[in-house]
Symmetry: C2
Subunit: 338 residues, 2 copies
């Protein structure tokens, strides 16, 4: 029931996913009276889903505490409960991000050793794409949070992007060791000294994200959210200026017509719906957040992200890596003590 | 002597400025043996400048403390000294940002009531341009720093952009009152309650920067630097993808040829050299930082920024506004006490 054009957008996305991911089945949580008439026009979606009726919905205006307190019968909460009970492999929602994170954390709990879950998303780069986290779940982060994000992001990039040995960069305002706040400096030291076979690149700057300097961009949720949205706004401005330029004269319109297949391919490379579907990393369950303003193709992509993370068992990878990291740290402390 | 292609780039920029800003004179601080042969080819630049010879130079690798301690005879320091002594109206440098800020702060001191100076720059938007600060001078900022940035940024936008009543936005990860860290929340409350006739828009998100939602974007130096560089990187990626698309086929090349005047105008709107020249706001003197990697046109733009700020007496505006703000605050405290 979440998202700007829900539930129609969600069901149209499900119709696409039903074709592209054969064999999957879905539990749909929401208002049967709204869902049934829409499903009448979507035969594929109908054939793969089962409605779990509820009238209660978390809105975008609900605060986290209101959602937690009075949203116990909401479509969002019941979907998370179903995943936690093993009825579903994971949850996909285009609803209120803060409420979704809080409920998922409350129900799923965090993975062993992870203090705070993070929102991880894919980002287009000149080389292909990268993973960035945290995109807004944690405003203030200390070095341990950043370190845990790095470990989780590395595993996520291996599974979700299929990169064998992803490189990790810490987002900062300069590449020299003395730059930045205490948290990034201490996290960098810890990553340099770790025994884990992670490829730590060091500090990166904002322009390194799109340049594709690293596979995993680690940052706090404040800067990460600002970087993500600034990039989105810049792409929109660029596209707006380009459209204006193309429409400014008859020769340029003709030129755009000649170049239209190339321009279509160009647009596709930066299409936000291709990158839709951010994972809540660090939870003991799979929860994928779709952009509220996405289109059905974007929502189908969020479903694909969830499907891949479930089948690849990404959380087992994180647990393993964190345990190895923890063991290495404990050994070091013992050695130092002994 | 600062910048990637210095001193040639600086002198070529001076040649442009000498034509576009008639009647100005310049003091050039640097190595006479390097400057003289270059000036031989630049008759206009030579006719308006006087060389103050020094061999000592602050490099980009120098830390702030090294620059402060052993850079007393450096071209950067001597230029700042000359401005402080009233020999020059202000300083323009394409050198080491941290060293320039530290030296300028040490020599000029800050304006009354301003705890920390900020780096303010212009940013392209869909509506024209906006002012953003801080772009990297202050990693950690409290609510008072942000409030001072807002007051300084408002004055700067009035003078530098010629906007009569600029709107101010606080960069955050959501527009609701509860979002963000303590500093932005407290600064928002103070800006809402101020008696100053500033137009406070409230919180904005990263995509509002390029959308042109406000005239002045206020943020801490960590997020501001990341937003600035992320936007720069996104523009580069977009341009790279567009070039690849245009060169992908013969019809699209032909199309680009037809549209070439429009594409040139399009490129000009996002040309970073148009936006070159960031002001160190809050100092008792004019200091403008040029991007180290800029071209001569960009450096000439940085000179124009300095010239405008000097002739408009931007610092008098800041002093006035801050005094009014302070007086309003003092009166409130008295009222509360009485």
């Amino acid at each position: 029931m979440g998202g700007d054009n829900a539930p129609a957008m969600v069901l149209d996305g499900l119709e696409i996913a039903a074709t592209e991911l054969p064999g999957l089945r879905y539990l749909l949580f929401g208002d049967r009276d709204l869902l049934e008439p829409l499903l009448d026009k979507l035969p594929r979606a109908r054939s793969v889903c089962e409605i779990r009726h509820t009238k209660s919905v978390v809105t975008n205006d609900d605060t986290v505490s209101v959602a937690l307190r009075s949203g116990r019968e909401s479509s969002m909460r019941l979907a998370i409960n179903a995943a936690a009970a093993g009825e579903a492999g994971g949850v996909v929602s285009a609803g209120n991000t803060g409420a979704l994170m809080a409920m998922a954390k409350f129900v799923f709990k965090t993975l062993p050793g992870i203090d705070r879950p993070a929102i991880a998303g894919r980002f287009p780069t000149q080389q292909g794409s990268c993973v960035m986290l945290d995109l807004g779940a944690n405003v203030d982060c200390d070095e341990n949070n950043l370190l845990q994000f790095a470990i989780m992001g590395e595993v996520y990039a291996r599974y979700a992007l299929g990169i064998k040995k992803p490189t990790i960069g810490l987002l900062n305002i300069g590449v020299e060791g003395l730059k930045g706040n205490e948290a990034v400096r201490k996290a960098a030291t810890a990553l340099q000294e770790t025994d884990l076979p992670v490829r730590f690149h060091g500090f990166i700057e904002g322009d390194d994200i799109c340049a594709g300097t690293v596979d995993v961009v680690v940052t706090d949720g404040f800067s990460g959210n600002i970087a993500l949205k600034t990039a989105e706004g810049t792409v929109r401005m660029f596209a707006h200026f380009l459209r204006e330029a193309v429409h400014s004269s008859i020769p340029s319109r003709l030129g755009a017509l000649l170049a239209s297949p190339a321009l279509r391919a160009f647009r596709a490379r930066l299409d936000p719906s291709c990158y839709n579907g951010a994972m809540f990393l660090g939870l003991n369950g799979i929860c994928v957040k779709s952009h509220g303003g996405t289109d059905p193709i974007g929502f189908a992509n969020a479903i694909k992200v969830a499907h891949k993370l479930i089948t690849d068992q990404v959380n087992d990878g994180i647990k393993e890596d964190y345990a190895r990291f923890k063991a290495a740290g404990d050994k070091e402390q013992e050695d130092a003590a002994g």
